[in-house]
Symmetry: C2
Subunit: 102 residues, 2 copies
């Protein structure tokens, strides 16, 4: 499998971030991660999304490719963390405004 | 043509608002309207979007149905205005955060 190219901070695009956050399951993942201490890693299953594994895989890929999250792989499990500092640097106040709308 | 049912303030959904704002042309319309005095109406053509009339019609419909704008019809012209108070009441700080990201 080719290595996935994720956007650096400066490459994160508002179009993709808003589109990623427009989905309620993806938004839930981001908002749940916002409530954790910085750089917390959670497994994909820990969010309890009521969707199939393949749909879940799709949603986590959208979040990652938009630049909202990082996935770390540890052999048989993965950890998802929020790129909160990157998003805040690029789009100040955006995540907080969305969290307030929860 | 059946009358279009637009969302009331309480019916405005974050999913649809974020999805509407994820498109750069639609976002430009909203950000341009934010720079005008409240309730300013502008014609669809005044935004100078580099797209066809039918694509433009589609984008203005998405904005309207998401609850971001109102369209007023005056016979042979239409006026588009931003529902800024409604959006601010539902999602405080969201439009400002997006405007800062311009």
């Amino acid at each position: 499998m080719a290595e996935e190219k994720l956007p650096t901070r400066d490459e994160i695009e508002l179009d993709k971030v808003l589109s990623a956050l427009a989905d309620p399951h993806r938004r839930q993942v981001v908002l749940d991660l916002m409530e954790e201490p910085a750089d917390t890693e959670r497994t994909c299953t820990s969010f309890g999304l009521p969707i199939s594994k393949s749909t879940s895989t799709f949603h986590f890929r959208v979040l990652r490719q938009a630049g909202l999250t990082y996935d770390a792989s540890y052999g048989n499990r993965r950890g998802v963390s929020l790129r909160r500092d990157d998003i805040e640097a690029r789009f100040p106040g955006l995540l907080d405004a969305i969290a307030k709308s929860r």
